[in-house]
Symmetry: C2
């Protein structure tokens, strides 16, 4: 038995690729357009960690996707949580839970999927602007 992926539905495929790849840092592995079912699947993974994937499902017929409380978040370990948050913030993403502790941050995808970023190894020394940045919203 082997974990393959977590699937999330996205309303705007371009905005989602921009978030998950350009800002979060995942890579697109493959894409499948299913004309008969009117949907596109895009498989993403962290570079060098291709066995654990995220599957984006984009239904061609628009639907608004709301969140629920049974699903919590996707978690990734990062080399530098400050650098990861800086890249997201520079891309216009709200850092809902800034890494004040040099250890943990939370952001949300365009469709409200909560993403946890955890510093690899020891927590980093406190650093501005993160150390004094308040929480925004929920995650």
């Amino acid at each position: 038995m082997r974990y393959l992926h977590t699937m999330v539905r996205v309303t705007d495929l371009d905005a989602s690729i921009d978030f998950y790849c350009n800002k979060l840092g995942l890579e697109e592995l493959r894409r499948v357009d299913v004309e008969a079912g009117r949907f596109t699947l895009v498989f993403l993974a962290a570079p060098g960690n291709e066995l654990a994937q995220v599957e984006l499902t984009y239904n061609w017929d628009p639907e608004a996707y709301t969140g629920g409380r049974n699903f919590g978040h996707l978690a990734y370990e990062v080399e530098d949580v400050y650098a990861a948050c800086q890249r997201l913030m520079d891309g216009g993403v709200t850092i809902n839970r800034p890494p004040r502790d040099g250890h943990m941050a939370f952001v949300r995808s365009p469709d409200g999927i909560s993403i946890e970023l955890l510093q690899k190894g020891e927590r980093l020394a406190p650093k501005e602007p993160w150390a004094s940045m308040p929480n925004t919203g929920v995650w």
Copy 2:
């Protein structure tokens, strides 16, 4: 950057461990009780695939967890999709999408988290009771 886990919230920890471990086939790796935050975390993974985990969050103060459409499912590859579904069905789990095609099945956790089971390698030859089993509900 490395995938760590998908977190889901559970209302009944014993029922969830029974589902994810005894019926689905994951293993419990570690458990953390956080008295100050009044929650318990349990980390699960497929045997031999410990780097891709599921984190169960059990809040000690009861809350009902509903689902949303932005999260889709967790997907696992299995050695024998019929055997996996038989074990789940014997445990009282509804097979929402039976593996009629010898390839794919869907079930739901006690808190409504959709789980996709995909046959490893080539699809299996059609076999009863799966081949003629109708869908139940949504997944």
